[in-house]
């Protein structure tokens, strides 16, 4: 058997536009990796001394770094989770209202309001939390502890100022509401008309159509949006630092005056007076926050990925 002589490889013509564009994308892609690596290296290098620091170096009663960071980790996740719990249902409701119920004019106006909410700086939310929200909800908290004090979350004694972790969570929920709403709305609007009609033609009411076609289609989007919101809530500094008077406790009670604070707020409050090993300790807590956020994002990816076969992308 004879083989034909190998044909000379055909080389694609290199066009200047293509080269500029591909170089630009490669550079941008690498830049994000370099930035991330720089931050990660900084965090790890600066954090290392904290893990072996003397007990005297820590503020409060902590004996070592893990005891110090424990309540902070708890506070961070607890506040963010509460905020997410409140924000997600409302955000999905608003997004569905805008995408499937509201008349077009109203939907547009509402969309602008939501975007406006996203543009409010977090310091402003913090001020609002202290001066308006906290005093306003305090009487409500009092009755909550009176009526539902047997339920561990609402155990007394109630805070006299209303500046509790629940107030923080409400403010955080308001802050992350716009991003979750905006993203969910976009996803809901993308629902293929074909699927909506399929549901309607089977005799679905509007709500049943949403359950059959819109929500399943939007599920990955809702998860991604929630995770973005959660990421913002985890890292939010100003609101927590302004509203809470921190204590190093792990407590699920949301209405008492002793509240766990969050990592970000703790860094912001203590950094100005920190020196030497104190700085390393704060940076190490920052590293922990970094890890938590990374873990949350990976979890979200995993959840979305798990049902990939059913996403309709194939």
């Amino acid at each position: 058997m004879t083989t034909a002589p190998a044909a000379p490889a055909i080389k694609a013509k290199q066009r200047p536009g293509d080269r500029v564009f591909s170089t630009a994308t490669v550079v941008s892609g690498s830049l994000i990796l370099v930035t991330l690596a720089a931050v990660a290296i900084f965090l790890v290098a600066q954090a290392l001394p904290a893990f072996t620091a003397e007990p005297t170096a820590f503020k409060g009663d902590a004996e070592n770094f893990w005891q110090y960071v424990g309540p902070l980790v708890f506070g961070t996740i607890w506040a963010a989770a509460l905020a997410l719990l409140m924000a997600v249902p409302v955000a999905i409701g608003i997004a569905l209202f805008i995408s499937h119920y509201a008349p077009r004019r109203l939907a547009q106006a509402l969309g602008y309001v939501i975007d406006l909410l996203a543009a409010v700086p977090s310091v402003v939310f913090g001020l609002w939390g202290i001066t308006v929200l906290a005093p306003a909800v305090q009487p409500f908290y009092t009755s909550l502890t009176e009526w539902f004090g047997w339920f561990p979350l609402f155990a007394g004694p109630v805070s006299g100022t209303g500046r509790t972790i629940l107030t923080v969570a409400i403010v955080l929920a308001v802050m992350i509401l716009p991003i979750i709403t905006a993203l969910s709305r976009e996803v809901f609007l993308q629902t293929p008309v074909l699927h909506e009609e399929a549901a309607l033609a089977l005799g679905a009411t509007r709500w049943e159509m949403i359950k059959l076609a819109v929500l399943p289609f939007g599920r990955p989007g809702i998860i991604s949006a929630s995770m973005l919101g959660l990421g913002r809530a985890l890292g939010e500094t100003m609101v927590v630092a302004m509203v809470l008077s921190p204590a190093a406790v792990i407590s699920f009670a949301v209405l008492q005056s002793q509240n766990p604070t969050t990592i970000a707020a703790n860094i912001a409050l203590n950094f100005p007076e920190a020196h030497d090993i104190g700085v390393n300790i704060l940076i190490a807590t920052g590293l922990i926050l970094f890890v938590i956020t990374l873990a949350v994002n990976m979890l979200a990816r995993y959840i979305v990925e798990r049902r990939k076969d059913f996403s309709g992308a194939n």
Binding site: G203, L212, F310, S311, N314
Partner: protein
Amino acid sequence: MSKRIEVNDLNVYYGSFRAVEGITLEIEPRTVTAFIGPSGCGKSTFLRTLNRMHEVIPGARVEGEVLIDGNNLYGPGVDPVLVRRQVGMVFQRPNPFPTMSIKENVLAGVRLNNRKLSKSDADDLVEKSLQGANLWNEVKDRLDRPGSGLSGGQQQRLCIARAIAVSPEVILMDEPCSALDPISTLAIEDLIEELKQEYTIVIVTHNMQQASRVSDKTAFFNIAGTGKPGKLIEYADTTTIFSNPTVKATEDYVSGRFG
């Protein structure tokens, strides 16, 4: 199961634009009726008025009446949701719910009726519906796989199974084969022939051979020009329409001498 459809002087509007004008026809139970005509002549619009699906488009409204066994679909107090449960629909492109398995897709409509199905009843219904859509043998080993993993023709038969699972009186098909290859088309046409035993079927098609193969009666729609409403030109037995139509426009259309 199957019912007689009677349409009296039906006009369909989108806002102020009259899309379909003055349609009157009767469809006998257990027959296949084909709607043919050029694109934009209102045949799909008219088809969708038979289960009030046109109302999905904002501004769409109807004058006249559509009677199914004497009950006016547009009578006061008639719920479009209930109408659609009686009159099933199959669309131009297969549209199984992508997030559901094959089995869940078949049961989607039944679950809407809030009927609490026992597992064995559900399994029976899935098998019966898929058998009815000639799909059972191909998918019985993968009922829990996503419906979107099937081929186009299989997906369309899945949609038919989903429609017949709720035991409708009438099945509307809006160009059900236009996105399918000839083999899958043949499978659907065979299926229509079988479904005719139990259901009244109305099908919109651009394929004249298909109309002549599957239907008992054929309605030819046409428009005088863009911006004019579509009208029913001729409605008769399929053999008459294709061999001996009374209207010149029909003859021109079915013989390919159009325009």
